[in-house]
Subunit: 463 residues, 2 copies
């Protein structure tokens, strides 16, 4: 009757030959000892309810989604061979030791003078006021110092010095701009479907090891979901994990919130009903970027989790039904949320279900059918096209080949991108003796990315 949980775990792991991770490439490891301990714990707790998890429902651990893209190699920046004033263009041309050239506009150089008068060093912030900047400045003189700094004298005799590496990092070439963009915001997303090999990590390791924490956040950004095992079975673990990053985001549902079947529920999540695929809190104009859900107690029957990759689904829709994509990415839909929890609230928003930036790239999914307002502020002739488009989108995201399903066990903690993923759960049988209980918390991407950058600097010395 009691199957060996370690056998169960091993059967899920693909028989990949043991290999060392590539140089400078982070891998989220599934330490078998830790995993064994966590899984045993989970089954011990759940066994009291006469339940054994179905192997098919347990998230699979795999390798292809676990590896972070290697960072660009830190090159010793080349020195400056020559610096030349191009007066007619009002630019400085810097020729590097490797023969390449970069151009820097005078106004930009003056604006970014690093001297103590122009920059508050302790804050690394500009103290030069824009009213004091001559945006049409000339340049009196440029020299290379002995330590190969670029030294500029301005017409008002002010002097600026620039380190070659500092200049090189800020060069205006399209390639440099692209590389910086990716480094700062990690724009590359890996799309997935029901075949997702979910990135996994150990909860305590993420808390205590910088490399593990960095790998976690890199995968969270790239894949959109990371599964942590081995959290203790007490409330407070989502708060603890958010402190690892910085702080959580308080909302009207509290600092953290308890997903349980509650009388007079102020949210459909606080019932035992099925939750169709949704993002959390589209009733806010800036919905939480990241969500943590920690399983403290699972139901005996039902309550399985589902997720889809919303960015992937939006691209499928764009390909298969461009008109529907056009409507959902342009119509502003009302969402509403009223009630009382942390305090009383009456929240209203207008959001596009598929948010796109100026270039048409999908940046956020905003969709929760429960809080979609009965008020629909669109012209009458757009009502039917809206419903048809939404229906098509929901059909795409509900295709079995797109949905990744799993069942959380006590001690599991899932972290995911709430701007990208839609998540749901099957209905469950509520049982007062063994009440299903998840604890959740929100964070914002700005804070998460801040921690990611700091960890990358600490782990790699990468600035």
């Amino acid at each position: 009757k009691h199957r060996d949980p370690t056998a169960l775990l091993h059967s899920r792991q693909p028989a990949t030959p043991h290999h060392r991770p590539p140089h400078r490439c982070l891998v989220l490891r599934m330490l078998s000892a830790v995993a064994r301990r966590a899984l045993t714990g989970a089954i011990q707790v759940v066994r009291g309810c006469g339940f054994l998890s179905s192997p098919a429902m347990v998230p699979r651990s795999g390798h292809q989604t676990l590896a972070a893209a290697p960072l660009p190699a830190v090159q010793g920046s080349p020195g400056v061979r020559q610096a030349q004033v191009l007066d007619h263009k009002r630019m400085l041309q810097v020729e590097w030791d490797d023969g390449s050239c970069s151009l820097y506009p005078f106004a930009w150089l003056r604006d970014n003078c690093q001297c103590p008068l122009c920059t508050l060093q302790s804050a690394q912030a500009r103290s030069l006021l824009l009213t004091d900047l001559d945006v049409h400045t000339g340049m009196d003189q440029v020299q290379l110092s002995d330590n190969s700094k670029v030294c500029i004298t301005w017409p008002d005799h002010h002097r600026s010095e620039f380190e070659p590496e500092w200049l090189r990092k800020r060069c205006f070439s399209p390639e440099a701009r692209q590389a910086r963009q990716e480094k700062l915001f990690l724009n590359e997303r890996e799309f997935w479907d029901s075949g997702l090999q979910i990135p996994m990590a150990d909860y305590e390791e993420v808390l205590h090891d910088d490399k593990a924490a960095l790998a976690w956040l890199m995968a969270l950004r790239r894949v959109g979901i990371v599964y942590l095992k081995g959290a203790s079975l007490e409330q407070g673990q989502v708060a603890r994990l958010s402190q690892r990053i910085g702080f959580l985001r308080l909302t009207f549902y509290g600092h953290t919130w308890q997903v349980q079947d509650k009388p007079s529920a102020n949210n459909v999540a606080y019932t035992s009903g099925r939750l169709s695929l949704h993002t959390d809190y589209p009733a806010l104009h800036h919905p939480p970027g990241v969500q943590f859900l920690h399983c403290l107690q699972q139901s005996q029957q039902g309550g399985e989790s589902e997720v889809v990759d919303g960015f992937h689904m939006a691209e499928l829709l764009r390909r298969e039904a461009p008109e529907a994509f056009g409507i959902l990415s342009s119509l502003w839909v009302d969402f509403t949320d009223t009630g009382s929890d942390y305090c009383d609230f009456f929240v209203q928003s207008k959001n596009r279900i598929i948010d796109v930036d100026g270039e048409g790239r999908v940046t956020r999914i905003n969709y929760n059918n429960a809080t979609r307002d009965s008020t629909l502020d669109v012209p009458l002739d757009q009502v039917q096209p809206f419903y048809s488009s939404l229906k098509t989108f929901v059909e795409v995201m509900n295709r079995p080949e797109n949905v990744f399903a799993y069942r959380m066990e006590p001690g599991d903690l899932v972290t995911f991108d709430n701007w990208r993923l839609l998540h749901g759960r099957k209905s469950y049988v509520s049982n007062s003796e063994c009440l299903r209980h998840l604890e959740g918390a929100y964070l914002d991407w700005d804070e998460v990315m801040s921690r990611l950058r700091i960890l990358r600097k600490q782990v790699y010395g990468d600035s």
Copy 2:
């Protein structure tokens, strides 16, 4: 030597005849007794530093900006005279007692069935799943019940009932949509310049009186700035005021933050230097919507405050220099903020200095010259146009006719729209015996608007 502060106050008030506010029109009152007490208090404290405020610098109280736009009269909604199924359009036509007609698409009616199966009453949220909605549904039958509800029978025998008033509120006419929009988000902004008659209110009254609190928030939305007098001279008042709304927004600078001249300042604000006009925190992708600043101690010399109406300035720029407006509303500019405070942080954003929505309406100003990144990720040929455009914008906002200046005294608390206003301060002489000290806090507009809607409902019974 000691001028009578009440005389000083009275001289600032225009000799307007006493008049009753119009019906249902809120007025922020400047109770003279309260003002006298507050101003006396301020001067008593400051007098110890040998300082007397200049009358010209004290914010003026006036009437034209204080009145909230009257709310649309609550009409007894007309009843339904007739309801007719337009099968070919798949719409229901409702004819009202006043002879007007409204059309409601079948799909929308079915989607918004208010029965306990389709709506979770306790959350006022939709429990009907989109997968269970037939967006091409027909309609079997429509009837008017005795209490004049519209009763619909659907082909699957499901029945829906709609209150006339509920339907009327959600009708799809352009006028109804416009009115709802304004009611929910109060889109109307009143532009101002140096002649601003700053809305004022009493701090304790706002805390304890719902009408005063509503008037405060309405003016904050409409004018963008409201000055509160009479806060006590202890830390914690901005937190207390944020609890009146709901909760404050934690950032890397803490729950609240102390604006003082600090050694090794991690922000230019924490020096005694001049701060040019800026919005706070454009290094976040979602900067705080509302800012509170409470004066605990003013400097003996300098430290006067300045504000401009950024939405107004952007419109001036659009008119006077459309190219500059085009550039600042389309170029994504890097902002950065690194350091340690609540915890360590390394924040990066890309924001447009003038944020506009799809229709080109200005929605947010994002500009702080101190945290504008030395990295400028724009093509080389756009660097000079960017600097010229920014220079023009800054020149517009610094024109004396556009800047409203005031001097905060201890006990004053200014509340303003950080998405709309730019604020600054003059440099001051730092004095360790009388250290200038403001305490600040942030909130987001979603939470502020939520409280505003609740207060409006409480004060007016307006749903």
